[in-house]
Assembly symmetry: C2
Homo-oligomer: 448 residues x 2
């Protein structure tokens, strides 16, 4: 791959700042140590700083002189004593060239370099404000808003990195489907997944993996991952993705513990797959993201009506947000350096306080180069169903006897990552099978 387009990201950010002069100054993360210990937290770079620098190491800073379009990287100095332990670091010039900056200096010289630029105003981020208090600062929310909005639109470099994150993680999902057998512990699958993505160059899990079998899939934030896949009739929901080149992937697959879906599980899975494919088909520039949520809800309502879980007319079901009791989360979110990436709610946009919709992480018009997850699901969560039963306007549309029949399915979710293109979208997760025949073929091979 070519050089990370850090300077272009400074240019894009400055354009959104609407300033002709001034200096942007940002600091990366430092190594974090556990309290009363010398153990380091695994290093994760500040996401905004990574976007503006492409540097994944601790102790760096970066500046951009808006008027002269000069990008300056600040590198921590490594003493000869330290180099004995960590090796001889690259030179300033090597760092400058590797990250595509115009100049490089040591971090100890930041105030001298900034002083020479004589900036009328310094733009920094809220998390760097205290480090920049020697300067005349613009309100810190200005740079934050500009960086967030710039991060929403991924360039070719970012899209290719995210495609690679998806390819690596898809291959790991396929390995799980091909290898997992009845009797294994959920955490064995998580360990296998993490091992595979790390071995292929991912830095870490993009988020805490969920491996939830049977009823555990009805716990939406299940992270214990400590139960056995003891029942071949169960499905197991695996929500896991690796971070590659500091960009996240976020993929969910749900598949039977045994070689085949039970009839119940297949019926629910088919509806979720239909929801997902219908939404992906619809995603295109100028459409509203919240409409994708409602589209998924409509496909779900039709499917649940067919199964007899819902009764009544679809217009009333939709008007009463009944599907929100089976899919309590949103249809998906922006993804990039962060799994739940920034920019989902542009200034002035508010959340819609309705079941399901209130947890939607984005409300905006789709535009080319935005990357979203599309992750419909259907779940049988006892606490939520009890709430539905206690809400007459909702309960009238649900046949709770039929619900009981499907309760053991727990939950099903299918999640891909798509990039919006001029003509529609491109599925970055295309290498991870989700059609029933393909999934069952993989599961059969686990028992062959």
């Amino acid at each position: 791959m070519t050089t990370y387009p850090a300077k272009q990201h400074f240019v894009a950010t400055a354009a959104r700042l609407g300033a002709d002069t001034g200096v942007i100054l940002v600091y990366g993360s430092e190594t974090l140590i556990h309290p009363d210990s010398d153990t380091e937290y695994e290093f994760h770079q500040n996401s905004n700083f990574y976007y503006l620098s492409g540097v994944a190491e601790p102790g760096f800073a970066a500046a951009y002189d808006i008027g002269t379009r000069t990008a300056i990287l600040f590198v921590p100095h490594v003493s000869a004593d330290e180099a004995v332990w960590i090796g001889v670091p690259p030179s300033l010039e090597e760092y400058r060239a590797a990250h595509g900056f115009d100049a490089a200096h040591y971090t100890k010289d930041i105030s001298e370099v900034l002083g020479a630029l004589k900036p009328s105003v310094v733009f920094t981020l809220p998390e760097n404000a205290s480090a920049c208090n020697a300067y005349s600062l613009a309100p810190v929310e200005k740079l934050r808003a500009a960086v967030h909005e710039a991060r929403v639109y991924k360039d070719d470099y970012e899209i290719e990195v995210m495609r690679r994150a998806n390819q690596i993680s898809s291959a790991a999902h396929v390995t799980l489907m091909r290898e997992a057998r009845q009797g294994m512990i959920e955490t064995e699958l998580r360990g296998r997944f993490v091992g595979l993505v790390l071995a292929q160059g991912c830095s870490y899990e993009a988020y805490g993996s969920i491996v939830a079998k049977g009823r555990n899939a009805a716990v939406l934030h299940y992270t214990k991952n400590n139960m056995a896949l003891d029942d071949a009739r169960d499905v197991v929901l695996v929500d896991a993705g690796g971070t590659f080149g500091n960009y996240a992937s976020d993929i969910t697959r749900t598949w039977p513990v045994g070689p085949k879906f039970t009839d119940n599980a297949r019926e629910i899975y088919s509806i979720v797959l239909d929801m997902q494919k219908t939404v992906i088909e619809a995603c295109a520039p100028l459409k509203q993201w919240e409409d994708m949520h409602m589209l998924a809800a409509r496909v779900a309502a039709e499917g649940l009506l067919r199964l007899g879980i819902l009764t009544g007319d679809i217009a009333s079901i939709m008007a009463n947000h009944v599907v929100g009791y089976f899919m309590p989360h949103g249809i998906g979110h922006l993804i990039g350096i962060d799994t739940h990436d920034v920019g989902g709610y542009p200034a002035g946009t508010e959340r819609i306080n309705k079941p399901g919709l209130r947890y939607l992480r984005a409300r905006r018009q789709m535009q080319p180069r935005m990357v979203f997850t599309v992750e419909p699901g259907l779940y049988f969560v006892d606490a939520i169903l009890a709430e539905a039963q206690a809400t007459p306007s909702v309960a009238q549309f649900i046949d709770f006897d039929v619900v009981k029949h499907y309760r053991s399915v727990g939950g099903v979710r299918i999640e891909d990552n798509i990039v919006i293109t001029e003509s529609g979208n491109d599925n970055l997760t295309s290498e991870c099978p989700k059609e029933i025949a393909d999934v069952e073929a993989l599961r059969a091979s686990a028992y062959a």
Copy 2:
């Protein structure tokens, strides 16, 4: 396994405090979020809090009333809304019983419960001082010193957990030796290792794994792990361990990329193995840990004299700490909840400012139930050898032409974890082969 002996740890700590009354009050870690993001850091419990509670979840606190010997667990309250997402938590009584406490309350009731105890003084830790500022506090270093000293002596429960951490990690090391082939990338080995230990129930890597081939092994804190095992003549140094039940393991093995050690590598490896076995043979109650370092240095000096790397008389070589230029780190450290565990330098003990010795992480008399790493190594670090060459008192004992002949070996380290017993010690890492014949048999099987 039985219940974690949290209350016994309070008892042991209170005994070292030397107080008959008062209350110990400690807080566990909270979930930590990345800046300007909703991504959580992987949760790691505060080590002192884990020792006193056995709780590996965020948001807990614990108290111990010294006079009445009452251990009280404080549990964060989960609302019905939160339970929809994370599942229904155990009850207070279930938490109390699971962790072996005398009572359990919600954290929101801490001040009420503490008020009822009317403590004359509250003992807390430096990291909890601000949370406890409503109470009449004893100097926070008092509890810290007492907990640290209590943590030095592992009980049966802790030793068995550490044995399991070692078994799981040893098996992963064996898998690497059995599977790694020329051409693989260092990070593939790290990924495989992490995947294996997570799958067997470890929570995380105990520390950032080092997989360093060839000359990379001469970078003592090498963590890039991004190079290919391209030369069959190289050795690869793998320093990796999993944390199981919140207790660390810390194991290093060094083995050839190809099926057999080269003559050079075998010669260096043999000396390091001799150093390690000699020290382990010597570890026993009442001996001083720094003497183990000097014992390893003496065995190294004898070996390096045989190879012609050193010249001169052994007494002068030892007196001038010449081996410190080939083994710049200490012979080992205490290990427990932390990889570099607390208590290595009891009050009044100072570091010895000599090559090698100055980085020794412990100086104390060995006693039963202490767990140490024994990790001798020999390295050819250009920067350190240049310093040796520039130091006449040291350079006179080194034949730098012979050193050149061994430079490509990079570095060799062999590390086990041992528990001191009444009669000597018990090697927790006994399931990880280190004899040359065993290592070469595993390496041969990778190419079979």
